[in-house]
């Protein structure tokens, strides 16, 4: 089970580090209970993973109000909004009175935009004006909500959490899950999360899956962002102290195996100086590649695990002791491969035409004839002859001429 769900606050009091917000929300609930809401609607705003959605659920839980949630995945045109929120907000439940209220939550409200959600804000304005039920809007960026709507709402700011607040919460989880962990490791996770409790918890769970006992060193091998992932993967493999650590680095990053392979092949050789180690590393990588092909060809995907181990643990173990720091770069071959795609296409189409005229294969022509073409077409007449006889396109002619 995901820890973000398992440890989601059940009550507002369990929400970490959002005291001011909780206080405002409580007051607002009281005012509804008294039948005289200060504002009919709240606008919760703040960075991701700070507890906005969690708070509305805790609130519904505490008050017993029936929760009606809509989020960005629903279609929010004027009519859809009217239909769902509108109907609900006019009629109460069978249990009349405060107890029987419905809490209408429009999550990710800053994503009502564009043609698909045409008229959504207009409907929203009307609904807030006429509703007899409490409404909560949630957004990351308060200014993405039209000013008129903001004016109808009580604003509630959710703040990024402080590292010590996050560490405390993670320690609570660790204790519950009976996980041994260095406080240092949690601090690193907390700092990296940039005040985002959700990402901190997810990060922690990922690490804990891989390492039975989590240390700071292990945590340092990872980061959440994609680009950083790749670099940490490389660093992890090159500097890992054991096969096991290297394997887990690979598991923890979100990169397709062939993509990871391309990055490793591009960069690892730059860091390894000893020819013997280099040959050994390449040997391992080429074996990994073979497993990859076999897996894909015969669709035996469990072979991927052998590839993964070879490209991570295998490289880590064979890399030798002379590892130099190197500047990591994206796979250059692929980049150039795409940049030169047109030339290659021309080459292939010309070769194909020659092959057909010469009763042989493209591959034979490329091997035997293309290397000689720059010389052969120094004879202008031959070039003209080829152009006429092979029915070459203008692009192909240009390509041929450029070979001279």
């Amino acid at each position: 089970m995901l820890w973000t769900e398992k440890y989601a606050p059940k009550r507002l009091s369990e929400l970490v580090g959002q005291d001011a917000a909780v206080q405002t929300m409580r007051k607002w609930v009281e005012s509804w209970k008294k039948g005289k809401p200060s504002k009919k609607s709240l606008l919760l705003y703040g960075p991701p993973g700070t507890g906005k959605t969690a708070a509305t659920r805790a609130l519904a839980n505490e008050t017993g109000w029936q929760l009606i949630e809509m989020n960005a995945s629903d279609k929010r045109t004027m009519s859809a909004l009217r239909k769902i929120i509108g109907e609900a907000s006019k009629t109460g439940t069978l249990l009349e009175g405060v107890q029987g209220k419905k809490l209408l939550v429009l999550d990710e409200a800053d994503n009502i935009h564009g043609r698909a959600d045409h008229g959504g804000y207009q409907a929203l304005k009307e609904i807030i004006g006429t509703t007899t039920n409490p409404v909560i809007l949630i957004a990351n960026d308060r200014y993405s909500i039209p000013a008129e709507i903001q004016a109808q709402c009580e604003l509630v700011n959710f703040r990024r959490l402080r590292p010590d607040q996050i560490v405390k919460h993670l320690e609570h989880i660790a204790k519950n899950e009976k996980i041994k962990v260095d406080r240092k490791a949690l601090e690193i996770i907390a700092r990296r999360s940039d005040g985002d409790m959700r990402s901190a918890i997810e990060d922690f769970q990922t690490h804990a899956l891989v390492f039975p006992r989590l240390t700071a060193e292990q945590v340092l091998l990872f980061k959440r962002e994609r680009e950083k992932n790749v670099f940490d993967l490389l660093r992890g493999i090159l500097f890992a102290s054991s096969a096991d650590v290297a394997r887990s680095v690979l598991w923890s990053v979100d990169i397709a195996p062939d993509e990871a392979m391309a990055w490793i092949v591009e960069n690892v050789p730059k860091a390894i100086r000893d020819p013997k180690a280099l040959a050994a590393v390449y040997n391992t990588l080429s074996r990994a590649d073979i497993f990859y092909r076999r897996a894909n060809e015969r669709q035996i995907y469990r072979l991927w695990s052998y590839m993964s181990d070879l490209m991570s643990a295998g490289v880590a173990v064979k890399k030798g002791s002379e590892v130099k720091a190197a500047k990591f770069e994206p796979p250059s071959y692929l980049k150039r491969y795409y940049q030169t795609a047109k030339t290659r296409r021309m080459l292939n189409s010309v070769a194909r035409k020659i092959a057909m005229a010469c009763h042989t294969s493209t591959h034979r022509v490329k091997q035997d004839m293309i290397p000689l073409l720059p010389i052969l077409i120094q004879n202008k007449k031959l070039l003209e002859n080829l152009t006429a006889n092979l029915e070459l396109s203008e692009e192909e002619i240009n390509f041929l001429s450029s070979l001279r």
Binding site: A279, K366, P371, L376, E391
Partner: protein, 322 residues
């Protein structure tokens, strides 16, 4: 018809009749009886590149069908046609129609048939049986062992050898005479040496040399060979042997990308170069072993780039030892 007036000499001087072909005298005489009697079994031509397999097939078609040969022959290249399905539909569509003119059967020439997978070959086998009334197959391949047994058993097998030096020289002098330039004896020898019994290579090199020089001698030939870029492959190997792995790798990328060289072809060139290297003989043999292994992997569909880089890393290791 495209290719008819082509100034590419391998095409311009491709023999039109079996009599014009050089070498393979026993094979040629048997093929001639097929033409004379207007009857033949399915044929399997096996042998190295550029030795006259396709030429022989085309000569048979001309001999049997005269001017109508193009209409009565379907030529397919297994390495260029995408998959057995294309071949299957093309063959079926073609085999269903009647031969044109007064001929007993049509010919389906399947070039590089060893490029077909075993599955594809089994499909082919069935087709060979289905259309015996209307069609004869001629299969060309480099190695007959890559052709499944049932197909082999349905064919008369002809094994083409690398052409003899004298046969190649005969052909080269014939061309020189027709094109009115001088090919010196050492020039002819040099071409024979670099072409390794492959007439296509020999003629291509001759044409290139004659483009550069009025008189084709040894120097002209080596000039061509220098431009024809095996030197780049050599440079790549040398860089690796000198321990400059990253530079060697760059060269590799440029060969694959800028020159569009296929990995397997590159390995063929590497193989050729090994014997020119200044390293101990036993290491050469080890390298050949390695190159063969990588070549096999590429055929199996491994990642070209990675496997070739791995090969360079191995060269770097050997370079350090020698």
């Amino acid at each position: 018809m495209p290719g008819e007036e082509l100034e590419i000499w391998v095409e311009k001087y491709r023999p039109q009749t079996l009599d014009e072909m050089v070498g393979h005298s026993e094979i040629i005489s048997r093929l001639k009886t097929f033409v004379k009697k207007k009857a033949m079994p399915h044929l399997l031509f096996a042998g190295p590149a550029g030795t006259g397999k396709t030429t022989a097939a085309l000569c048979i078609a001309r001999g049997l069908f005269g001017d109508a040969w193009r209409q009565n022959m379907l030529e397919l290249n297994a390495s260029d046609e995408r998959g057995i399905d294309t071949i299957r539909t093309k063959v079926k569509d073609y085999a269903r129609t009647k031969p044109i003119g007064d001929v007993p059967f049509k010919i389906i020439l399947l070039d590089e048939s060893d490029a077909l997978t075993a599955d594809a070959q089994h499909a082919l086998r069935r087709m060979m049986e289905m259309f015996t009334n209307t069609c004869r197959f001629i299969l060309d391949c480099n190695y007959s062992s890559r052709i499944i047994e049932p197909i082999q058993s349905r064919c008369a097998i002809f094994r083409f050898k690398r052409l003899e030096a004298d046969d190649i020289k005969t052909m080269l002098q014939r061309i020189a005479k027709a094109e009115k330039f001088t090919l010196t004896a050492d020039g002819a020898n040099a071409i024979v040496y670099v072409s390794e019994g492959d007439m296509r290579r020999a003629i291509n090199i001759l044409q290139a040399a004659a483009t550069l020089r009025k008189k084709v001698d040894e120097k002209a030939v080596y000039e061509v060979m220098a431009v024809a870029k095996p030197t780049e492959v050599r440079e790549m190997i040398q860089l690796a042997l000198d321990g400059k792995f990253l530079e060697a790798r760059k060269k590799l990328h440029s060969l694959l990308i800028d020159q569009g060289l296929a990995g397997e072809d590159l390995l063929t060139q590497v193989h050729r170069e090994i014997y020119n290297l200044k390293i101990p003989e036993d290491l050469k043999v080890d390298l050949v072993d390695k190159v063969g292994e990588f070549s096999y992997r590429l055929i199996q569909g491994a990642n070209e780039l990675l496997q070739l880089e791995a090969m360079l890393a191995h060269f770097a290791l050997v370079g350090q030892r020698s």
